[in-house]
């Protein structure tokens, strides 16, 4: 089985020769790993590229593929190239600094600050402090909506051609081909900030209704060309949501049912009509109080199942059976300790999760920078001995 075949079968609860293993790394973690021995020259990604300022194909570094070194799958290894961001983007630029921080306008239009390079042992590019957001009310939403036109031809790349892409995607067997969608909670929180977005459900429900109606239209129409031409060559929808904290979901089941559910059903019906049935929600935190509704909405998988928030893959499997494929749930805190703690965490879950397929192993979040290269290698080496299915 190729990694792609294995991943597809696991999501479909079909027998596999080994449990697939997927991880995603913070850039700071890969940076640390380089300093501790990860050989950059072995994992850099080079390809020909035509930048456009010359009629010339020229080799370029495109990044680093740490997953290939450890032997795990990257969800984002093969993405269908649909741009679902604001077009035009806000120009990312520095708008201020002091002795300690730099302040930026981000491409989403939010404003943030990050510690200056060298000010800390680790620079937290992945986690700036957002202090202002582009949408605050009806009029700022109306202005922002102009950047969310699904018909904008720039949503598909310069090289978009469904037949050619279909062939290229077929060549990729290193993992699933994903189409990314932003769930409405993730969408709204990104545009308004979590507190204001949550408050708007109560203080300005008309704004929320207008936003979600546009979200549904935008999500379906911006991806329609890819969905209707590639169909089930798209293995999985990566549905980014991030809608929960340790105590529970950020919005109640009542709000989920009233506002999100009808629109989610229409988006997932559109996907299902095109033979795409594997839709994986990405949300940290404790999502259990809304999982019945999430399943009713048409979501069929869940990552990363954060242990610190009480998520437990074996218990979820027992409760939901084949309604939900499960991804992650290996406690990053225990795994990062290495040795016996790491082995115990793996041994407590892998055997149970192997029983019915439908599971993709991995940490219960991205790989954090507290992992040393050696600890992560130790984890990878041990986990790989446990993945094969007899």
């Amino acid at each position: 089985m190729t990694p792609r075949e294995r991943f597809r079968k696991a999501m479909n609860f079909e027998p596999v020769d080994a449990i697939p293993w997927a991880e995603n790394f913070y850039v700071e973690t890969v940076n640390r790993f380089f300093a501790e021995g990860l050989p950059a020259h072995e994992i850099n990604v080079m390809d020909w590229k035509m930048e456009g300022y010359l009629l010339l194909n020229w080799p370029a570094f495109l990044g680093f593929d740490a997953n290939s070194y450890f032997g795990c799958i990257n969800f984002f290894g093969c993405m269908v190239p649909v741009d679902v961001g604001p077009i035009p983007r806000f120009k990312q630029r520095k708008i201020g600094e002091d002795s300690r921080y730099e302040e930026y306008v981000m491409e989403s239009g939010a404003r943030s600050r990050i510690p200056k390079k060298g000010a800390r042992q680790t620079t937290w590019y992945a986690m700036p402090q957002f202090y202002s957001f582009p949408v605050s009310d009806k009029s700022s939403w109306e202005r922002y909506k102009e950047r969310l036109n699904p018909e904008d031809p720039r949503r598909y790349g310069k090289d978009w051609d469904p037949d050619a892409y279909s062939q290229v995607l077929d060549q990729y067997q290193g993992g699933p081909t994903c189409l990314s969608m932003t769930g409405f909670y993730g969408f709204g929180a990104e545009l308004m900030g979590i507190p204001n977005f949550n408050l708007a459900f109560y203080k300005d429900p008309e704004l929320i209704q207008d936003m979600i109606s546009h979200w549904e239209y935008f999500t379906i129409e911006s991806t329609r060309e890819a969905v209707e031409t590639l169909r089930d060559r798209i293995d999985m929808i990566f549905w980014w949501e991030d809608m929960a904290e340790r105590h529970g979901p950020n919005i109640s089941p009542k709000l989920y049912r009233e506002f999100l559910l009808p629109h989610y059903k229409r988006v997932t019906a559109f996907l299902n009509k095109n033979k795409i049935h594997r839709i994986m929600m990405d949300s940290d935190g404790n999502t259990r109080p809304i999982l019945d509704l999430v399943i009713e909405a048409g979501i069929t998988g869940h990552w990363p199942l954060e242990v610190n928030s009480g998520m437990d893959a074996p218990a979820l499997r027992k409760q939901y059976g084949k309604k939900l494929f499960l991804v992650g749930n290996l406690d990053k805190r225990e795994i990062a300790k290495g040795g016996e703690a790491m082995r115990k965490e793996i041994d407590s879950k892998l055997p149970v999760m192997k029983e019915a397929s439908g599971y993709i192993a991995g940490l219960d979040h991205l790989v954090h920078v507290e992992f040393t290269f050696q600890r992560f290698k130790e984890y990878a080496d041990y986990l790989k001995t446990k993945l094969p299915v007899e």
């Binding site: 937290w124 979590i194 949550n198 408050l199 109560y202 904290e245 105590h247």
Partner: protein, 213 residues
């Protein structure tokens, strides 16, 4: 008297809206109920009920935030009436996210709930140096120091702050409450904090207990 205060309390806990509560406050005032009683037995009691509903899984973050915003709106309405009858503050909390961590959402929610419960909150924002926590603790003399931390990589900063408080001989003068996604009850014990709050409501409950005479 109890009826109208109960009504204020239940209207807030049912997320009845600021307009409705303002009308009830007017009614209570016309019955000669004092503003401190309205705040303490009506509004703060309502906020406690909101907390209880959150703990019970009936309310979630959106409801907490909405309740805090209703309370804030109502307090703006009450403010002009406060001159004559000062409301006693519950206590003082010095608050911040530890050095190396830029997260503030959880901290800000705790702050809103603590303000609603009558605490004065001095917020040092995020990425706060340990010596600033110590310096401000000496200056403000809070009953509670709240340290927030979401990143496991920044957890060690909590111990740095607590050790510095001990070195400065002020550790015994305040309670240290830690919160944020990275903290656990076990970790609080390990580093010598007084408590770990796993959510904002638990944090405010701890603070209430900490200032009880």
């Amino acid at each position: 008297m109890a009826d109208i205060l109960d009504e204020i309390s239940s209207t807030l806990s049912d997320l009845g809206g600021a307009e409705k509560i303002r009308a009830l406050i007017e009614k209570a005032s016309s019955q000669n109920i004092s503003i401190p009683d309205i705040v303490e037995k009506g509004l703060r009691s309502g906020l406690q009920q909101v907390g209880a509903k959150y703990e019970a899984g009936e309310y979630f973050l959106a409801e907490l935030l909405f309740a805090a915003s209703i309370l804030d709106e109502v307090m703006q309405f009450i403010k002009p009436k406060l001159d004559a009858e000062a409301i006693q503050k519950t206590g003082t909390i010095l608050l911040g996210t530890v050095r190396g961590d830029m997260h503030d959402i959880g901290k800000n929610i705790f702050k809103m709930m603590a303000l609603g419960a009558g605490f004065e909150v001095d917020d040092l924002n995020v990425d706060v140096d340990p010596d600033l926590f110590v310096q401000e603790s000496k200056r403000i003399r809070p009953e509670i120091l709240g340290l927030s931390c979401l990143l496991t990589t920044a957890l060690s900063e909590i111990k740095v702050v607590i050790d510095m408080l001990t070195e400065s001989k002020i550790r015994g003068q305040l309670k240290v409450l830690i919160g944020g996604n990275a903290v656990t009850k076990e970790f609080a014990q390990e580093v010598g904090a007084d408590a770990a709050a796993l959510n904002a409501i638990e944090g405010v409950d701890f603070c209430r207990g900490a200032v009880k005479p």
